[in-house]
Structures are given as structure tokens and as C-alpha cells.
Amino acid sequence: MTLTEEKTTDKRPAGLGVVGWLRWGWRVLTSMRTALILLFLLALASVPGSLFPQTGVDPGAVARYFENDPVKAEWLDRFWLFDVFTSPWFAAVYLLLFLSLVGCVLPRMGVHLKEIRRTPPPAPRNLTRLPHHADIGGDLASAEAYLRSKRWRVATGDGWVSAEKGHLRETGNLLFHIALLVLLVAVGAGGLFGYRGNVLVVEGDGFSNTVAAYDRYLPGSQVSPEDLQPFSFTLKDFQATYIGPGHEKQGQPLDYYAKLAVQDSPGAPEREFTLRVNEPLDVDGALTYLIGHGYAPTFRITGGDGKVAFEGAVPCLVNNTSTYESQCVIKVPDAAPEQLAFLGRFLPSTVPDGEEWLSVFPGAANPTVQIWPFKGDLGLDAGTPQSVYDLGAHKNLKPLGQMTASPKPLAVGESIDLPEGAGKIEYTGVKEWITLQTTYDPGRFPALIASGAAILGLLLSLQIRRRRVWVRVRDGGVTVGGLTRTEGGDFGEEFAELTEALEQHARPAEVKDVP
């Protein structure tokens, strides 16, 4: 379909009062040109979302931005540039666009319904004036029969047949635009009624789907803690394999999976589930994904008083994803008489490198850990929140003994007696941890269906041509004329095929007439 815009659209009403202005505003908003400008604005408004780190995508990167350049970050934040896609100005653009879309689609729906019910218009007097026309043998009746058999909408009159095809184009177009509206609503509803949580779990440990169990929990505004699906699981085992030496991509993961023992609800029987990338665990629409992994060496730490003050796994943050060299922080508030803390560097496949040690492979072929011990007041009672992955905030910690840049790494089973009789640390083994994300988004299916409808609508709207043909009697035969109302369409070929078919179809009738 072609759209001819009236030149008067933008003329301002002179002295029409509030109603007139509103009407004028509505007309401008729903004009095709405004829609076009809003489309441009929408594209432009998205650009900063890819140039600056986004809170919703990578909050860590945003925090780093604030650390490195607080003044600039402050200014960027003032304009929501770290939250582009939830910012008021982004919302303004898409809400205007969708308002414009509604204003455009509703009237077009009305027009289209009328169009569908209307019969094709009578044939013009002179068909040879049309862009496509041909004189062929045959008669009106057989032409009409043929056109009807090919599912044209047909009207007839005195000496002419009129036929039309291609209303599906506009139907598809409307379907597409409505689907976009539904998609927006589905995405919005998913945000309100869904939630997302992240958690780190060490091998052997369990997780149950409650707000308190998450490290980070982001509920939609309409979600209450009781809405969470009450499933739980234990991480039995995690396995990863990597490309071995001799390949350019040595150390690239080949496969990893986590074995879970899942309980769908408190009383339910336990079931085994293998969690992989691309294969989330689905419990009543709450999906749990495997999104990261790393190492958690285990330690037994004894205080200066000879009592075991800590025993367990310490998840280490991965510094380098191609070697899995990781950084560990151990805080031991229970150590007596003085509290202890340790920095550690975990090397899954250790080799010496001059005075230093390196990891050369992500698999745990020779897992060692370098330890830097501290003692003093951890200040955990002060109530200020602290990261479990950082010792930087502790001003009252003193290094124990001589600090060296690269202490000799411990192998599993080895231990260090701490200087100044502060106690002992034993490196007892290696476990692995995984990070999980649980997502519940009730808008997923509606969004999927709307997307499918959008594609279907697009295909109809872009590939179907609206066209009309007329047939008029002429002595000894008929004239066929045709035109397409879709610009850019190549109707010539179809028209030629159609006239040929009409002629062919008419011929058997002629044969019958011969006795």
C-alpha cells in the first residue's frame, strides 16, 4: 500500500482552542514523518547504552568507572547514562513511538475492515490506459470463473469483470504493528512479575530458592518473597574439560557441567539433573542457569591457642580465564588470641618461572596456593558491610613475618606454621564452585508469540502485492487491464502469466462450441 500524506497535516490550527491544539498534536504525533523521526531517535538513544557500562548488564564495570573517574561518572549518572534502557528519556522516546503507533494502527484497522468488505470497484472505461493491459481471446464468463478459482475477489457488471487480490498485505502490516505493541507489554509485565537472583555454590553445598539464599536478588515490583518457587538442590559435582596443549586455543573450555540433586518442592523426591550451558534447570518456569565457575581450595586454620578456628572451602575469584589463576581472601574472626586473615593466589596448573610461579592451564593438574598471612582486628563487629573478596578495607591488619612478592606455593596437604606463634594454616584440598542465575519471567511466552506474529506479519506485509485486474468485452475477445497499488512491485511478470492463463482457460470452451 502507498501512503500519501496530506500536505495540511502540519498546519497549525488558528485559534481553535485546546481541543484544536490537541487534535493537531495528535495528528502530528501519528503522522508517518513523526514515526520516522521517533524511529531515528530510538536508534540514536540506544547508542550510549553500548558505549558506557550498564548497571543492569555489568554492575562491576560501573563501579570501576566510578572509582577511576568519579567526577565524570557523577555527571554521566546524572543523565542516566549507566542506566540508558531504564532512563526516563529512553522511555519517553519509545512511549511516544508506541503512542504514535497506536494512533496510526487504530484508524488503519477501521479503514482496512471496510476495505475488506467492499467489493472491487467497477472497471475503468478504457483499460488500455492502465499500466498493464492486453487483448486476449476468451469471454467474460470463463475469465470470471478462472479468477474466482484462483481466489481473487470478483465483482461483475455490464460487460466487465473486476477482481482484486492482496488484502493480506495490509492485514500482515497491522498484525506486525500490533505484535510490536504486545511485545512491549509482555516485556514490561515480565519485568514487573518476574525476578532474578545470582548465587555462588561450592561443590557439596546446597541451595534453596529463597530470597535470603541469593548473593544478589532483583525482584520485579509485583513480586513478594512468598512467590518464589520452593525448589532446592545440592551441587554434587562439577566437571570441566579444556583444549590440551599444542593448539592455538589451548585452555579454551570444551565442555562443562554440574551434577545437581534437585528437589522440586520440599516434600518431593530427589532427582538427578545435569546442568550445562544452554541447558538450564526448569522448575515451574523458574529457570536456573550455569553462568560461571572457579576454584575453592579448602583449608584448616588453627589459631595461636591451638584450636581449629576455620575449616572449609574458600571460593577464589578468577583473575585470568585462560589459566584460572585466582585470588583468594580468607578471614578467620574465630582465631584466638588474635584474629587472622590471609591473601591467597591459587594456581591450578603450577609451573615455576624464575623466582615466580605461574599457572599454565585452567585444569587442576598441579593445584597450589601461595599464602600471605595477616593478623589483627578484622573489625567485623563494627557493622560496616565488607566484601568477602577483599582485605583492602581492614586498616588494623599487620603482615605476619616477612612479606615476599612470591612466597613458595603450597601443594595439597602442605601447611605453614605462622610466625610469632600465631597458629597454622593447612591446605587440605580443592573443590570447585559455580555461579548460578535463577530467572523467572512470566513475559517470556507472550513475548515469543508476539515475536512470531511480528515475523509472520512482516512477511505478509513485505512480500504480498495488492493488485487489481479488470476484464472488458471487446468484439471477438476481451481486454484485460491491471495495476498494482504497491510501488516497487514487479507486477508485469504476474500480469503476463495471468493473461496467458486466462487465454488458456478460455480455449477449451471454444473447442466445445465446435460441433
Partner: protein
């Protein structure tokens, strides 16, 4: 054949395809320069009528006969393009056999496959429609693109990371490859449209260029839409959400909106012709930025490009 020798063969076929595309370009360029003088004048008249320009029609130049050898050069160009296409196809197939997976798992393979798609589109188009005039430019894009892939993006044949080890590659990436191939042909036509002024020229007529561009974009746009949506479906399986404004997603969205703007521009009074072609080129630039810029400079979750930074 062993995987290693298949991988080597694939690399050699890419080089062969580069040379053959260059040969095709030269053949087509000779035809364009010396083989279509009369045609140009006739087309010009048609365009002027269609666009209802008011300026007076300059007296048509006396039509010179096209040199027969130039037409032969064009035919040879077509043969070279088909051979280059076969080499390009072979390169992608052997890469797939060598790695035992779909051969578009990193940026190098993606670009090789995307150019294969672009040349396929051109060759199929010229079977049905008179669009040989695009050949020289598609040839040069194919050669430069493959050259860029081989020199800058090359990665050794090998397995992919677990997230990519999925049947979604066949759905999502194949759609993106196909749509990108079509958009490239549309981009070439639109660029020529702008390079060529309104006056007489050895380059093809503006109306023809615009028709080619529109035809391929209209086919590509639903495929692109499907590529974006299947990407969202995959993200829903792999990353725990179907849409998260990761840089690649942002630019796929921008590209989509920009091509939608092109389609709307054509339907809007006053935006037909040149303005619409400019919009389509902006959209094409977004597509290319998403491929090159986002993979190399921005990164994000979607950074499976495997390009050494």
C-alpha cells in the same frame, strides 16, 4: 582426509576465492566501462521521466556501439565469479568438515560465510534480472572482505566454547549470515546510487540501483528480524534472559530500527529516492559496526568473535 589437511585446504580455497573474485571484478569492470554506452543514454531518459525532473533534457549523445570484446569480458567475469563462489563455498564446507561443527563459530568463519552469502545473492539475482552491472562492485567487496578475514581475523580451525556448542548456531547464525549477505548487496547498490550523480554515467541507472537495493532489503529484513528473535531465544537458553541490552543486542536492535526506518522512509512523502538510500546506508553502517566495531572494540557477553585484541 585428516582434519588438519581439510583445514589447510579451506585456507587455500579462501585465497583462491579472493583471486577469482578479483578476476570477476576486472571482467565486469571492463564490460561496464566499454560495453554499455547505448544503454546508458536510453535509461537516462527513462529515469528523467519517472522522476519528473523539470530541467531540460540534454540532447542525447550519439549512441556508440559497445565493443564486442567488452561483452566477452563481462561473460568471463561471470565465469570467474561462479568459480570464486565455488571456492568460497568449498572453503566453508571444508572448514566445517575439519572442525566437525557448523562453520560459522567465530568472526573469521562468519565473515567468510557472509561473503559467500552476498556473492550467492548476486549470482542468483543476475540469473533472473539484468543486474550484471553490480558484478564489479560485489567482486571487489568479496575480495577485500575475504582478504580482511584472512589477514586480520584468521583463527586456527578448532572447537568452540561450550556456549556455542548448540544447534542454535544453525538457526541464529545462519539467519544472520543470510540477512547480512543480502544487506551487503543492498549496501553496494545504495552506495553506487549515491556515487553516481543524476547525470549520464557509465554506472547503472539510479532507478535500477534503487530497485535492486529495495528488493534485497525487503527480503533481508524479515530474515534479520528472525535472526534477532532467534538470538533472543538462544540467550534465553544460554544466559538466563532473552534480552539484556548486551552491546551486540543493542546494535542488532539499532540496525533493525534503522532498516525499519528505511522502509518507512520509502513510504513517507518526500523521503523517496536519495534520502531513503542514505537511510539504508546508515542502517548498513550500523550492521557493519555491529560486526566489526562491537566484536573488536566493545566486547560483551556475545564476544565469541575469537579475535585477538
Amino acid at each position: 582426509m585428516s582434519p588438519e589437511s581439510l583445514a589447510t585446504l579451506s585456507d587455500q580455497l579462501v585465497l583462491a576465492a579472493i583471486l577469482l573474485y578479483l578476476a570477476g571484478m576486472i571482467g565486469y569492470a571492463l564490460e561496464l566501462a566499454f560495453g554499455r554506452v547505448a544503454e546508458t543514454v536510453a535509461e537516462r531518459r527513462l529515469v528523467a521521466v519517472g522522476a519528473s525532473h523539470e530541467e531540460p533534457e540534454p540532447a542525447p549523445e550519439p549512441p556508440a556501439a559497445p565493443a564486442p570484446w567488452a561483452l566477452q569480458a563481462g561473460a568471463i567475469g561471470t565465469v570467474a565469479m561462479w568459480l570464486g563462489w565455488a571456492a568460497n563455498l568449498g572453503a566453508t564446507l571444508t572448514r566445517g568438515l575439519a572442525t566437525d561443527r557448523w562453520p560459522w563459530g567465530n568472526m573469521y568463519e562468519f565473515v567468510v560465510a557472509m561473503l559467500l552469502a552476498a556473492v550467492t545473492v548476486f549470482l542468483l539475482l543476475q540469473l533472473r534480472y539484468p543486474v550484471r552491472f553490480l558484478g564489479a562492485f560485489v567482486g571487489v567487496v568479496g575480495a577485500i572482505g575475504l582478504g580482511f578475514a584472512a589477514r586480520v581475523l584468521y583463527t586456527q580451525a578448532g572447537p568452540v566454547v561450550p556456549a556455542l556448542d548448540s544447534y542454535w548456531v544453525a538457526i541464529h547464525v545462519t539467519a544472520a549470515v543470510a540477512a547480512s549477505g543480502l544487506f551487503i548487496v543492498g549496501g553496494v547498490a545504495a552506495a553506487l546510487f549515491l556515487i553516481r550523480g543524476d547525470g549520464p554515467s557509465r554506472l547503472p541507472a539510479r532507478a535500477d540501483l534503487e530497485r535492486v537495493a529495495h528488493r534485497v532489503i525487503v527480503i533481508a529484513f524479515p530474515i534479520w528480524t528472525f535472526a534477532v528473535i532467534s538470538g533472543a531465544l538462544w540467550a534465553d537458553k544460554a544466559w538466563g534472559r532473552y534480552w539484556g541490552w548486551d552491546p551486540k543486542e543493542v546494535w542488532a536492535f539499532i540496525t533493525w530500527v534503522a532498516y525499519a526506518a528505511y522502509l518507512h522512509a520509502r513510504a513517507t512523502a518526500g523521503w523517496k529516492g536519495k534520502a531513503a538510500m542514505i537511510v539504508s546506508l546508515i542502517a548498513f553502517a550500523c550492521l557493519m559496526f555491529n560486526l566489526v566495531g562491537v566484536n573488536i572494540f566493545i566486547g560483551g557477553l556475545h564476544s565469541y568473535a575469537d579475535v585477538s585484541k
